[in-house]
Subunit: 154 residues, 4 copies
Amino acid sequence: MLDRSKFKFHSQLRVRNYEIDIQGVVHNANYLLYFETGRFAYLENLGIKVDVTTQQHESKVVVVRNEIDYRAPAKFDDLLDIHTRISFIRDTSFAFEAYIEHLEMKRLVAENVSFHVWLDHRTEKPRRVPDEFRHIVRKFEGDNALITLPTTTA
Amino acid sequence: MLDRSKFKFHSQLRVRNYEIDIQGVVHNANYLLYFETGRFAYLENLGIKVDVTTQQHESKVVVVRNEIDYRAPAKFDDLLDIHTRISFIRDTSFAFEAYIEHLEMKRLVAENVSFHVWLDHRTEKPRRVPDEFRHIVRKFEGDNALITLPTTTA
Amino acid sequence: MLDRSKFKFHSQLRVRNYEIDIQGVVHNANYLLYFETGRFAYLENLGIKVDVTTQQHESKVVVVRNEIDYRAPAKFDDLLDIHTRISFIRDTSFAFEAYIEHLEMKRLVAENVSFHVWLDHRTEKPRRVPDEFRHIVRKFEGDNALITLPTTTA
Amino acid sequence: MLDRSKFKFHSQLRVRNYEIDIQGVVHNANYLLYFETGRFAYLENLGIKVDVTTQQHESKVVVVRNEIDYRAPAKFDDLLDIHTRISFIRDTSFAFEAYIEHLEMKRLVAENVSFHVWLDHRTEKPRRVPDEFRHIVRKFEGDNALITLPTTTA
């Protein structure tokens, strides 16, 4: 189970009627959409613009792995709290941790760890996560995130 | 174009990242989901509980026709205002009218008229829209909605 | 009801489990996705490539109106036959008609008329539907489609 | 990476236009839908009926964890091969392994391990995976699946 004390950011989301399945609960694939929504809100909160509509960037970020643990089902009209943090930034990759909590019932709904790789847009090869991104995340997360920062030579 | 002066209820909704298509705008099918969300909010506001999870009802309501006019595309993160009203209640059917407006830009995004039929749950045959439903809607909409009410004999 | 004798093309589609809603039937918004799939198959059959991934085109086509009549619900694993045709091409617009039939039960599931406008990509203004498109559709549909063709001066 | 030699069943699926995202590739959440489709096809092939529409069962199966590795993006109209197997059945739980391959290009698209728990419908507590299910899977998978079978006393 993820260490909840390390999360500094959360966003909210209400379950819409078309997101529940035949069993009356949120379909298991939709949580991935919710977690993604949480990551967008997190980045926006850090002043990092996620421009998904333009394709003229020199780099792009792709998801390479998702782990989801389903704890208790969410239902129609539930108000959910999505807690999101970046847990590490390595050379060309970084990870988000997140958990969804049922706001009223304070019940854990689902947990997610997602792994992302920074790619050069043309070559589609991994490239170093930009230092600017490292610094912004570092400033917000402090020691909670394991971030390799550029060494400054004395 | 729908007569905007007749609408008394609206609800809000923010476009989520996974609802936009390859062209960077909300996929045309998603507006049907938004309008449905507006209808649910409308009914909830009138104190009418839409219990989609139970199937032990004696009647159910089905959509029989949808008309959607697309006016201007909505984009990621747009805050939308969904205006919703019931325009008529006939013997076994009723209709919703709705339009979506881009909140900041005050721009019309899409319009919808949907037609619904009240069915007996077992026989699946149309049955009279309940008088209680007529009275609740009548009370809220007043003369804006064309509603056949039960005649009271003197 | 659409005139079925005028349809020359159909494609098939199986209802997937995640497309049914809490009531056990295909959610009403998903039929729009099915009809769109039918239009893509129709155009592909006519040798018209729908390149949705590139945005470097000089023109694009947008949906401006959808009408859907729901006749009988489709269920999980149903094999559906989507009949699709272009019914008219005017100056800057054209329309598709389509109906979905339950393959085994020969039962009408839903009908759709969709209206499309050809836009100049940069100005976003309507422009004339290309003559090449008119000729290809005319050749396939014959007199079933009302198509304004370019006049040839003697 | 999953051991491909252990898979005996595969089903096919074509990427539909509405399943690709703004970047022109299948949205990462949709692979979960594809893998689920693969599991349904697998169970159907073994003669195990998945009745999602009835809620009058004495037990139900829920997903408790999903792991997905994204290897190479699938695009619009790609024909995908979904290879699916049950890898183990323990007391109250079992797991599926699956991978998606691009049919023409023989390229690995994504891999998935999903964990499922058998619940008593009323109490919502885990209960033993039925012996009938164990035997059917054992007969199909042979030694590839780790299945605890009921012991027969001599």
